[in-house]
C-alpha cells in the first residue's frame, strides 16, 4: 500500500488536495482535503442582517448569485415576506443565467481539457479533441468565451453585474427591466440558444431534452457533429459511463419551479425533502468536535490541531446518510428518464453528471424565454417588509453545483448565527463520525492511480464540478 497526495487540481474552482491509498495501482481509499479556510460564517456574525446580501456573494466568484439567492430567501423566510411575481421571475432568470453559464464553463474550460492530455495520444478521437479542447490553446475557447460573455449580458440588464450583484432582495429584485430591455434580453437568449444548438449539441434544445434512455442517447450521438457528441464518443471509448459512482443517493432542494425538491435512490420513487433531516458533522474537519448538529443550531469553531482532522470541510448528512447533489441529482429527483436510466444501469458516473448538465442547458433555456415573456410591465419587482429584531430563517436553493442552504438567526437586530452548507460540502464531504466516506471519496475507490495510470482520477473529480471556495466558506 502506498500513499499518494494529489494536488493542486487545476481547473476546479478553489483549492483541492486528495490523499489516495493505493494498492497495486488501484485506489483503496481516498480522503478529500479542502486546504483553504475562508471563515465567512464568522464574518457575518454581528452584522446587520441585510448585510448578508452584500457579504455572501463574495463567498464564491462562480456561484455568487446562488449565494445571494439563498441569503435573500433566508431573510424573506425570517420576515415572512413573499417576493412579487415579477421579482420572482427576475430572480429565476438571474439564477438560471449563472447556473447555465457555469455549466458551459465547466464543460469547456474545466472538464474537457483533460482529454487533450498526451496520455491519450493514439486514441482514435485524440487529435480532433486535443485541437478543439486543449487548455487555453484549443479552438473551442474562441467560440465559447464570447458566447458566454454575451449570455452574461443578461446580468448587465437584470442584475447590474456578475459576479457579486446586490440585485437579489428578499422581496424580489432591484431592477425592473424596461420594455425595450425585455426585447433585448429575448434577443440575447436567442443568440445563446443558437450557440448551444449549433456548436454544443448539434440539435434543437427540445429534441435533445426529450431523450429518455442511455441507448437513445448513444443513437442520437452517433455521427452527430457537435462538441457534446464529441465528448460522448470519447466517453464511450473510455467507459466513462461506468466509473465515478458515489453514494447513489441524490438530494435536491428544488429549482425554478421546474425541478422539485426531494431525495431519490435508484429503484425507488422520489421522497419529499425534509429540511429537518440535514445535519453536519465535524469529526474529520479542523474544527471543534461535537455531535452532528442541524445547521440552524450549527457551530463553526476552528481547531487547527484536531488530530482526526484532514480538511476544512464539514460532513453534511441527510437523515444520517451520504447524499450527492448537483445537476444529476436535480434531474434524477425530477424523474428525467435519461438521467434515471443512466444511474440505474451503472450508478452516478462521469458521463451521467456531464449529460445532466447538458439536459439542464436544453430544458432551462426555453423556460427562461417564457419567464421573460411572463413579466408584466408596470407591476412591482420588489416587495418590502421590515425584519424583526429576533427571528430565524432558512434559504434553500439550487446553485449550478447543487443544493445550497443558508440558515440565519437574528438577535437584537444583528446576525447571531449564520450557517451555510454549499453543494461541494456535500459532494466533497470528508468521513463522518461513523467513518462513512463522502461521495467523491467513494467514487474514487477502485480507480487506477499512481505512476503511468491514465488520468481517470482527474475526470471523476471534475465530473462533480467542484467549487472549493464555497465548500470552505
Amino acid at each position: 500500500m502506498t500513499r499518494l497526495v494529489v494536488g493542486p487540481f487545476n481547473r476546479v474552482e478553489g483549492d483541492l488536495e486528495i490523499t489516495l491509498d493505493v494498492d497495486d495501482g488501484v485506489i483503496a481509499a481516498a480522503r478529500v482535503n479542502a486546504p483553504l479556510f475562508r471563515g465567512f460564517e464568522q464574518i457575518l456574525v454581528g452584522r446587520p442582517p441585510a448585510d448578508a446580501l452584500a457579504v455572501v456573494p463574495r463567498i464564491c466568484g462562480i456561484c455568487s448569485v446562488g449565494q445571494s439567492a439563498a441569503a435573500a430567501s433566508a431573510l424573506a423566510d425570517a420576515m415572512g415576506l413573499q417576493a412579487t411575481p415579477n421579482g420572482l421571475l427576475a430572480r429565476q432568470l438571474i439564477q438560471a443565467t449563472e447556473n447555465l453559464a457555469d455549466h458551459l464553463s465547466h464543460f469547456y474550460l474545466f472538464f474537457m481539457p483533460d482529454f487533450a492530455r498526451p496520455a491519450y495520444a493514439g486514441r482514435p478521437w485524440y487529435d480532433a479533441v486535443a485541437r478543439r479542447f486543449a487548455a487555453v490553446k484549443g479552438s473551442a475557447a474562441a467560440d465559447v468565451l464570447p458566447a458566454r460573455a454575451n449570455f452574461l449580458k443578461l446580468m448587465g440588464f437584470l442584475a447590474g453585474k456578475w459576479p457579486h450583484t446586490l440585485a437579489l432582495q428578499p422581496g424580489g429584485s432591484t431592477r425592473a427591466p424596461t420594455s425595450a430591455e425585455r426585447i433585448r434580453v429575448l434577443a440575447l437568449l436567442r443568440d445563446f440558444r443558437s450557440f448551444v444548438e449549433t456548436v454544443v449539441l448539434g440539435d434543437d434544445l427540445e429534441n435533445f431534452a426529450t431523450l429518455d434512455s442511455a441507448d437513445g442517447l448513444a443513437a442520437w450521438a452517433d455521427g452527430r457533429t457537435g462538441d457534446f457528441p464529441a465528448f460522448l464518443a470519447t466517453a464511450a471509448d473510455l467507459g466513462l459511463d461506468r466509473i465515478g459512482r458515489g453514494s447513489d443517493r441524490f438530494l435536491a432542494y428544488g429549482a425554478y419551479g421546474l425541478f422539485p425538491a426531494g431525495l431519490w435512490q435508484a429503484g425507488g420513487a422520489s421522497t419529499p425533502l425534509d429540511p429537518g433531516a440535514i445535519s453536519e458533522d465535524t469529526r474529520h474537519a479542523w474544527l471543534a468536535a461535537g455531535k452532528p448538529r442541524h445547521p440552524a443550531v450549527g457551530e463553526t469553531v476552528v481547531d487547527a490541531d484536531n488530530p482526526d482532522g484532514y480538511t476544512w470541510c464539514k460532513a453534511p448528512r441527510y437523515d444520517g446518510t451520504v447524499a450527492e447533489v448537483g445537476a444529476l441529482a436535480r434531474q434524477a429527483v425530477a424523474g428525467h428518464p435519461l438521467a434515471r436510466d443512466m444511474i440505474e444501469r451503472h450508478g452516478a458516473s462521469v458521463s451521467a453528471r456531464v449529460v445532466a448538465r447538458l439536459l439542464e442547458l436544453a430544458s432551462v433555456l426555453p423556460a427562461m424565454e417564457g419567464w421573460v415573456k411572463a413579466m408584466v410591465p408596470g407591476e412591482a419587482f420588489c416587495a418590502h417588509a421590515s425584519l424583526p429584531d429576533e427571528c430565524q430563517g432558512a434559504g434553500l436553493v439550487e446553485a449550478a453545483r447543487g443544493s445550497l442552504g443558508h440558515w440565519l438567526s437574528v438577535r437584537r437586530g444583528r446576525i447571531d448565527r449564520y450557517q451555510i452548507i454549499a453543494p461541494t460540502t456535500w459532494n466533497f464531504s470528508p468521513r463522518d463520525a461513523a467513518d462513512r466516506p463522502g461521495p467523491l471519496e467513494q467514487a474514487l475507490v477502485g480507480l487506477p492511480a499512481g505512476p503511468n495510470a491514465p488520468p481517470t482520477v482527474q475526470h471523476v473529480v471534475r465530473s462533480f464540478d467542484p467549487c472549493m471556495v464555497c465548500t470552505v466558506h
Partner: protein
C-alpha cells in the same frame, strides 16, 4: 511575450470569472494578440498535480522565467502566523511562503481584486482571526505580506487592481499597457491603483444623474431615484469608471438598481453602517461627494430639492418611469 504566473488564495475566484468575460474577443486570443501568455493559471492551465508543482518550483527557483505575478485573494497568515488557513495543495507549504518566494522573482507584482490589494472580506472579521491582509497593504496602511518597502524587480510596488470583483477591462488594459509601453509610478494613484480606471469616480456617467441633480432620492430597493441620500451609495466618492465602462454589456451597480459599496476602496467590506443604508448626521449624509465643500453641498441640495420637477420626484420612488418627459411642441432651441 509578457509571461504571467497567477496564484489564488483567500478569495472567491470571482476576479478570474470576471476576467473570462473580457470582450469582444476571447480572453485568450486577446492576450495572445497583445503579446501576453500564461505560464500557469489555476483555472485555465492544463497542468495539474505534480506538473503544476514543478512549474511553480521552477518559477520560484529561477529556472522558469516569468514577468508578472498576479495574485487573487487575501493573504491568510493565520492561525498564529502559521499560514495553515491556506496550504498549497499537494505541497503543504503555506501559500504566503509561495507568494513571498515568487514575488522576489517577478518583474512586476499585480494584486488582482480588493482582497489581494487590501485584505478584503477575509480581513473583516472583528479581531481578524484569519490574520488576513493584502500583498502590500493591511486595509489602508502600507505593509501587508510583502512589506511597505517591497519593490519588484522592475522597481514598482505592488500594482493594486482593486475591485470586488475587478472589471475584466481593468486587468486586461493594465496588462496590455504594460506590454505595450511599460508602467511607471505615475500611472498609479495613491493606493497604487492604475489611473486608467481609478482616475474616475463611479458617479461619472451615472444613469441616475438627473435624480442626483435634484436630490430626488430612492426610498427603498428597486426605486429609480438617486441612491446616495438613503440607500448607501458611495458612487460620488469611490474611484472607478464603472458607469463609463459598462459591466456585462450594459450594467453597473447603479444600473442594476443598487448602491455602489465602493468595492475598489480599502476597508469597503466593513463600512461601520449597513451597506444599503446611508449614515447621516442631522439628516445629512456623512459621506459627501469627493471634492465638494459641505456648506455648498447642503445649500445646493436644499435648492435643488425645492426645484425638483414632479416627473423626477415621482419617478424617483417607483421602479419604472410613471411620468414621461414632456414633449415640447415648439421645436427645440
Amino acid at each position: 511575450m509578457l509571461r504571467i504566473l497567477w496564484l489564488q488564495s483567500g478569495g472567491c475566484g470571482g476576479c478570474t470569472q470576471s476576467l473570462l468575460g473580457s470582450e469582444p474577443r476571447s480572453l485568450f486570443a486577446e492576450l495572445q494578440g497583445a503579446g501576453i501568455e500564461f505560464v500557469w493559471h489555476p483555472s485555465f492551465s492544463q497542468a495539474s498535480d505534480g506538473e503544476a508543482r514543478a512549474i511553480l518550483e521552477a518559477c520560484a527557483g529561477g529556472a522558469q522565467p516569468f514577468d508578472v505575478l498576479c495574485v487573487e485573494g487575501a493573504m491568510l497568515r493565520g492561525p498564529g502566523g502559521s499560514g495553515k488557513f491556506h496550504l498549497m495543495a499537494g505541497d503543504g507549504r503555506p501559500l504566503t511562503d509561495w507568494v513571498e518566494r515568487l514575488a522576489r522573482r517577478a518583474r512586476w507584482v499585480f494584486a488582482i481584486g480588493s482582497c489581494s490589494a487590501f485584505g478584503g472580506f477575509s480581513a473583516s472579521t472583528p479581531g481578524n482571526p484569519l490574520e488576513a491582509c493584502g500583498l502590500q497593504y493591511d486595509n489602508d496602511e502600507a505593509g501587508g505580506l510583502l512589506g511597505a518597502d517591497f519593490r519588484s524587480a522592475a522597481g514598482l510596488p505592488v500594482v493594486n487592481i482593486a475591485g470586488c470583483p475587478a472589471h475584466p477591462g481593468w486587468v486586461v488594459d493594465t496588462l496590455e499597457k504594460l506590454a505595450l509601453e511599460g508602467l511607471t509610478a505615475s500611472d498609479l494613484d495613491d493606493f497604487r491603483r492604475p489611473l486608467l480606471y481609478a482616475e474616475q469616480l463611479v458617479h461619472h456617467g451615472c444613469p441616475r444623474n438627473e435624480y442626483y441633480e435634484f436630490k430626488a432620492s430612492a426610498q427603498k430597493p428597486s426605486d429609480l431615484g438617486c441612491l446616495m441620500e438613503n440607500l448607501g451609495c458611495k458612487g460620488t466618492q469611490a474611484h472607478a469608471d464603472c458607469n463609463i465602462r459598462p459591466w456585462n454589456g450594459a450594467g453597473s451597480c447603479l444600473r442594476g438598481g443598487y448602491a455602489c459599496i465602493s468595492c475598489t476602496e480599502p476597508g469597503f467590506e466593513a463600512p461601520g453602517h449597513p451597506f444599503q443604508e446611508t449614515p447621516k448626521v442631522a439628516g445629512i449624509p456623512m459621506g459627501l461627494p469627493t471634492d465638494m465643500p459641505k456648506a455648498w453641498f447642503v445649500a445646493l441640495a436644499a435648492l435643488s430639492k425645492s426645484a425638483t420637477p414632479k416627473r423626477v420626484r415621482d419617478n424617483a420612488v417607483a421602479d419604472h418611469a410613471v411620468i414621461r418627459p414632456a414633449i415640447k411642441k415648439t421645436g427645440l432651441k
